[in-house]
């Protein structure tokens, strides 16, 4: 936030806040309201609707300044996602021409910057739109290549009671149609185009104060840039018109299916082994479960949130003649030992892929809380599991710890992650001393394509299947 910017308000957006905004705006994109689906996105968790941040910033400005004036224009850039539960603050800076710049900060970084200008006339909530909540419908997932520049209509909806609840000051002095038009933009991006796999980047709206009521906003694809999966969309209603920019984010990553895995794994090479794959419902844990099962191992995999993903992996393994089962398990839960005893008592091998969402640090200071978040899983969880395993097997057990080449070359934004992984490696060295009969393998994996590493632009240099297979073979042939 600029030094001369005045802090207007601070808050933490909760899942309940996001659900209320989804109801008002009609943007039920899973990225905002479904933590299980959101964990499979680039962001690892639910993020606050950009237009919710914008409306809250404008509400905070109205509450602080009692300006009571209709907007003439709003121009906003959503610079960084705000993960639900993160503390945010908004500041305002007014320039001599009356333009106000709102800056929203989260975790020490600018997450949104908005320029707002005001009309000369005092606003009044006269122009009514359809007094209802938008319908709750699944988001579209139409490839951008399929869109034409045809004009589409979206019914404008506005529920005054719900609006007043979230934005009491705005609803007093901005017209319903202006508010509905602004909120319709998040519904267009999150539910229509790009729809399900979308990120809102930027919005420029020019308002028409005193406009008549309108039933719908129209939207039309203006520009599609394939190399960046970026679009510009023109929006228009009686209340205003403008342009929004959005991005089609990568869909959740897929690992190799059993059919493909079986072609790469020698039948029977892992026969007679009972392996517990912690974090096996997706990503490299999923791939590991499939490789081991393809080689004849009996696999028990765990999931924390992704029950459907786990069922999909187990189903794929069984369909191809493998043996697999799954159970819900949280390495940080008080019930972890009971769950292990109930569901994994026969296992003498553990592959450890448990991870919290991998978040960027600020790259300038080492964040203690972020390091501790990782260490609770990568270090404390690993030790706990190894000790449980040792108790099951009189010290003769097999442990596979998924580490990272980032231990050697920490990326600037992931120092905490690299440090926690280095700590987990140190734990493994200690475990080897404490349990000399155990076979402990630390796999320093390169950056492989998973939900956690998927990026908007970068390509992947390594093949997941051959890389993980080589590590597992190295572990179990030792």
């Amino acid at each position: 936030m600029p030094a001369d910017s005045r802090v207007l308000a601070e808050r933490v957006f909760t899942p309940a806040d996001l659900a209320a905004f989804a109801e008002l705006s009609g943007d039920y994109n899973p990225l905002h309201v479904d933590p299980v689906a959101a964990r499979r996105t680039h962001f690892g968790d639910c993020i606050v609707h950009g237009v919710f941040l914008l409306a809250w910033a404008l509400e905070s400005l109205e509450q602080a300044t009692a300006r009571h004036t209709a907007w003439a224009s709003v121009s906003v850039r959503f610079l960084r996602p705000v993960v639900v539960g993160t503390a945010v603050s908004v500041g305002a800076e007014e320039s001599h021409d009356g333009r106000v710049t709102l800056t929203l900060t989260a975790s020490g970084r600018t997450a949104m910057r908005c320029d707002v200008t005001f009309a000369a006339a005092v606003a009044a909530s006269t122009a009514m739109v359809r007094a209802t909540l938008p319908p709750r419908e699944p988001p579209a997932a139409i490839p951008l290549e399929s869109w034409t520049d045809d004009e589409h209509r979206l019914e404008l909806c506005w529920s005054a009671p719900h609006g007043r609840c979230l934005f009491p000051a705005l609803t007093t002095f901005q017209s319903d149609s202006a508010l509905a038009a602004m909120l319709a933009t998040t519904r267009i991006v999150g539910m229509k185009i790009p729809g399900r796999d979308s990120v809102f980047l930027q919005l420029d709206l020019m308002f028409t104060p005193g406009a008549e009521a309108d039933e719908a906003v129209t939207y039309r694809l203006m520009k599609y840039q394939k190399s960046t999966q970026r679009i510009a969309v023109a929006v228009s209603s009686a209340a205003g018109h403008g342009t929004l920019w959005a991005l089609a984010r990568p869909a959740p990553t897929s690992q190799a299916a059993m059919e493909e895995v079986k072609r790469s794994v020698r039948p029977g090479c892992f026969a007679g082994r009972h392996v517990l794959v912690v974090g096996g419902s997706r990503g490299l844990g999923e791939l590991t479960a499939k490789i081991l099962a393809a080689g004849g191992a009996t696999v028990t995999l765990t999931y924390r949130l992704g029950e459907d993903d786990a069922a999909r992996v187990v189903g794929d393994i069984r369909k191809h003649g493998g043996s697999a089962d799954a159970f819900q398990f949280d390495i940080e839960s008080d019930s972890r030992d009971r769950m292990l005893s109930e569901h994994a008592s026969g296992a003498d091998h553990v592959c450890y892929f448990a991870t919290p969402p991998i978040l960027d640090g600020d790259g300038e200071t080492m964040s203690g809380p972020l390091f501790e978040r990782y260490a609770r899983v990568y270090v404390s969880g690993l030790i706990h599991l190894a000790q449980w395993l040792a108790g099951q097997t009189s010290g003769q057990f097999f442990l596979f710890n998924a580490s990272s080449v980032y231990v050697e070359t920490p990326p600037i934004r992931q120092l905490e992650y690299a440090a926690a992984k280095a700590s987990s490696e140190a734990c493994c060295r200690w475990l080897k001393v404490a349990h000399p009969r155990a076979t402990i393998h630390v796999a320093r994996l390169p950056r492989l394509l998973t939900d956690q590493t998927a990026s908007f632009l970068s390509s992947n240099e390594h093949d997941n299947l051959s890389t993980v297979l080589a590590e597992l073979s190295s572990w179990l042939s030792a």
Binding site: R77, L79, P411
Partner: protein, 77 residues
């Protein structure tokens, strides 16, 4: 135009940018910021970057080069 003025709002700059700066040296230069940088570059050149140009946006010096080829001179401190 100063390159800092263009990118400061996106990258939360605390020190002037250097030509050699890149996603590896600027902590805020992540993949979302990268897209925002491309939008900002397109604003300043008043046109759309080609696919090759988008791919080559890997450092401040490359950005300066791309803008120069489009007739816009960006300077560092």
């Amino acid at each position: 135009m100063k390159v800092d003025a263009l990118f400061s709002p996106i990258l939360d700059l605390k020190a002037p940018l250097r030509p050699e700066d890149s996603p590896e040296t600027i902590s805020a230069w992540d993949s979302i910021s990268h897209i925002q940088l491309i939008l900002a570059i397109e604003d300043v050149i008043d046109g759309e970057l080609t696919t090759d140009e988008v791919v080559s946006v890997t450092s401040v010096s490359k950005i300066i080069e791309i803008c120069r080829a489009r007739g816009v001179e960006l300077t560092v401190e």
